[in-house]
Assembly symmetry: C2
Homo-oligomer: 465 residues x 2
């Protein structure tokens, strides 16, 4: 398939067997259509282009097309391209090929997702347009495992200003989301001799899987109302993943003396502290809670993400690394792949222009209103249920009264097309006697439906046995 006219389509055809070139072409096209390689509705090239590509006379191709139209394989209509006919028996597909239509729940209170309906599409489009207009050609080759310098410079300023992170752009590694960042980090820790990583219990279950996939052993670290307990960290743990600003999922803030204790442990024994600052931008009181990293930048790996401030679908996250971990993480990241370039440049532009700050402030107000409405409804409709972890973030934990099981609430909610998170899956080793609790994410429902959603949730909880 060579030369050809630009403007035409590519079609892969293997001419084989006897009977002349026209017959060979017809056979090849029939086989491609029957076999499903050419699917119903798909355009085929113009006779002129295909003839050129295959080194055939144009008339030969036209005759073959006409024959296939006559046989019902192709269809033509005046002024439109020739296409594969729709009425043919489809190729064999998996029995369950068509997944259930992607029907949304009526109300989704599961944690972990922001209000993507508020994603600043116009600002993002402007930032992308500028990024695409200004990106040097070389940027499009990717190949910088640390990420684009424009974004690292912008993040260094932003993280210092908003989160108290001491971020040298040269020690930032931009990743294709937190999952990739954690994978590359665990990989590097393992290569550096770490065997065991402590993870809060409960914690995001997915991150246990990521760490385990790199060969690390995951040790449970107990959590209470002051956050993770430093004394409970096993001696074997060469690293520990913490959520100091807003423990996930319980919502506690890591107490100052515990921050100090973790830092002391890191200084004394070389334990690497990984600070997962997944929702640090969203804090509703006046008590500031800066990043742990600012206290001990040589011992703390700071991990941030655009998933909560913008949208998880962007897949952008970042690590701010102590000097000694920079090269090992870069080496490990190579096997996870580079980070998409244009969206890095767009995010840099969003930070530089102040549009990200504006968006975060707007969303902080919105989420606080949502939280308040949720707490009011809980107090009214289900006063026996206490909400925790309310000072920050995009979710609260609701303790269930004695005798009420998480699974029962989930089932009752599902009956009303409503989904809610529960604590069980976040525990390292769930047991029947565990205190039961809901994890209510209040960011996911779209804004216009939020009031109604909270009423529906109140109904579910008020009807708890």
């Amino acid at each position: 398939v060579q030369e050809g006219w630009s403007g035409s389509l590519d079609l892969h055809v293997e001419l084989a067997g006897g009977g002349g070139r026209r017959a060979g072409l017809e056979r090849a096209l029939r086989a491609a259509i029957r076999g499903g390689r050419l699917q119903p509705g798909e355009r085929v090239p113009s006779t002129r282009a295909l003839a050129h590509d295959l080194g055939l006379a144009r008339g030969t191709v036209a005759e073959a097309y006409a024959q296939l139209v006559a046989e019902g394989y192709l269809r033509t209509s005046p002024g439109a391209p020739t296409r594969v006919a729709a009425g043919l028996e489809p190729p064999p597909r998996r029995a369950d090929a068509d997944p259930a239509p992607d029907e949304p729940l009526r109300f989704d209170f599961r944690p972990g997702v922001p209000d993507v309906g508020a994603f600043p599409r116009a600002a993002w489009m402007r930032a992308l347009r500028r990024a695409l207009a200004e990106a040097p050609d070389r940027a499009l080759t990717g190949g910088d495992p640390r990420g684009r310098p424009e974004l690292r410079a912008a993040l260094a300023g932003y993280l210092g200003r908003t989160r108290g992170v001491l971020a040298d752009p040269d020690r930032i590694v931009v990743c294709a989301g937190y999952t990739q960042a954690l994978g590359a980090l665990c990989h590097a820790l393992r290569d550096a001799g770490v065997r065991t990583v402590g993870m809060e219990d409960p914690c995001l279950h997915h991150q246990r899987a990521v760490a385990a996939s790199t060969g690390l052993r995951v040790a449970a670290l107990a959590v209470d109302g002051d956050g993770a307990q430093p004394d409970a960290l096993p001696a074997a743990a060469g690293a520990v993943v913490l959520t100091p600003a807003h423990q996930f999922p319980l919502g506690a803030t890591l107490a100052p003396e515990r921050r100090a204790a973790f830092v002391a442990r890191a200084r004394d024994r070389g334990t690497v502290l990984v600070e997962d600052d997944y929702d640090g931008e969203f804090r509703y009181g006046r008590q500031p809670v800066g990043a742990l990293q600012g206290l001990a930048p040589d011992h703390v790996v700071y991990a941030g993400t655009a998933s909560k401030t913008l949208a998880p679908g962007l897949r952008l996250g970042w690590l701010v690394l102590p000097e000694r971990l920079l090269e090992p993480v870069l080496a490990a990241k190579r096997v996870y792949g580079d980070t998409q370039v244009l969206e890095q440049l767009a995010l840099a532009e969003l930070v530089r222009s102040g549009a990200l700050d504006r968006h975060v402030r707007r969303m902080r107000q919105r989420y606080r209103r949502r939280r308040d409405a949720l707490l009011t409804t809980l107090a009214d409709r289900a006063p026996a249920m206490r909400a925790r972890g309310i000072a920050a973030g995009l979710h609260v934990v609701v303790d269930l009264p004695d005798g009420v099981r998480e699974d029962d609430v989930v089932a009752r909610a599902a009956g009303r097309s409503l989904a809610v998170g529960i604590l069980g899956p976040f525990r390292h080793a769930p047991a029947p006697g565990d205190p039961q609790g809901l994890v209510v994410g209040y960011a996911a429902p779209p804004e216009h439906a939020y009031a109604q959603a909270v009423v529906a949730l109140g109904d579910v909880l008020a009807s708890a046995p």
Copy 2:
């Protein structure tokens, strides 16, 4: 930091110590600037916004700012936001913090990169705009490990039409580039009990590292002028990665009888064949070479990428999987992370609109002209050097005459600010006696400089001892 006015910046400030609120604020700001958290040139919030955030009187903040201006920490100018002053001593940085300015080589003939200067920026922008306008909110949450259905449907048609791949959209998994795709695949193979994967020798060195990172043993598979040798595949190999259309780097096309032999081995012994179709769209003769996958879709994993047709910086690749590998790969991919959503939607739009076909055809013509110019120059200037693998792709291999070492050519080229690939690093176990050869990628130089670049390369090769 609560409420606040949208439109303002966020600033993390911890008020601590005695001496009143104004003194506390001054101390906190000084520390942030001295410590590098607030960097020179960074804007600080308006007095009004910061006062509101911290629950201070606006006058208190204004006085603190005035004091810091007087001390040289901040600077103001009429009508402009207050910023951190530029003249302060910078925070300590790594000695080698500023990398060498990203000075491009004059001419880059290393393989693996297309002509990103021809990236269809306008078409991509149109596709992105449409994707962003039409994406349902839910798409922005990501969370579909297979990738967006719009792109999977578009790819199924495109791959069937252009590469002869039998691609059911339900068996396509869109990944954040080939590296991630190969990582998730190797992970799944390992979990399915595969211990050893065969890889062509020579092959892309990076992919050996990716496979090894998942715990697989990599076995070398000999290659000759007919491509990989089926008889040389160790019995222990439960999978093998092949480049049937254009062996990387040697450029052979896998011979028909060898295709059949690999498929037979897969049928008889369950060996998984991985088809890395990295540059399959670029073929210059009239001999079609369809995907191996079309012969045995139940045994071949087809892997494709946008890196050569568009740009590596997009980080988009895909796997077409046999039924039995779909769930294992999806499970493995979860620990590598989801794939960025908006660029998936943009690529789907580019395929649907025919713009990708047009771009590929245009580039195919361009690359063929470049290849021809390169071969002509080689024949003129260095007739002792034979070029191989010229029928397809974006690179050729140039065999060096006896006594000429790869490293010497690289050094001589570097002296003229010219880079060229060599075979050595692609060999599994390079040895002093290996035949010496260059791997000349002719896609990377920008179009306007290509003629000059080829002349410079000719000079380097003509001066070979």
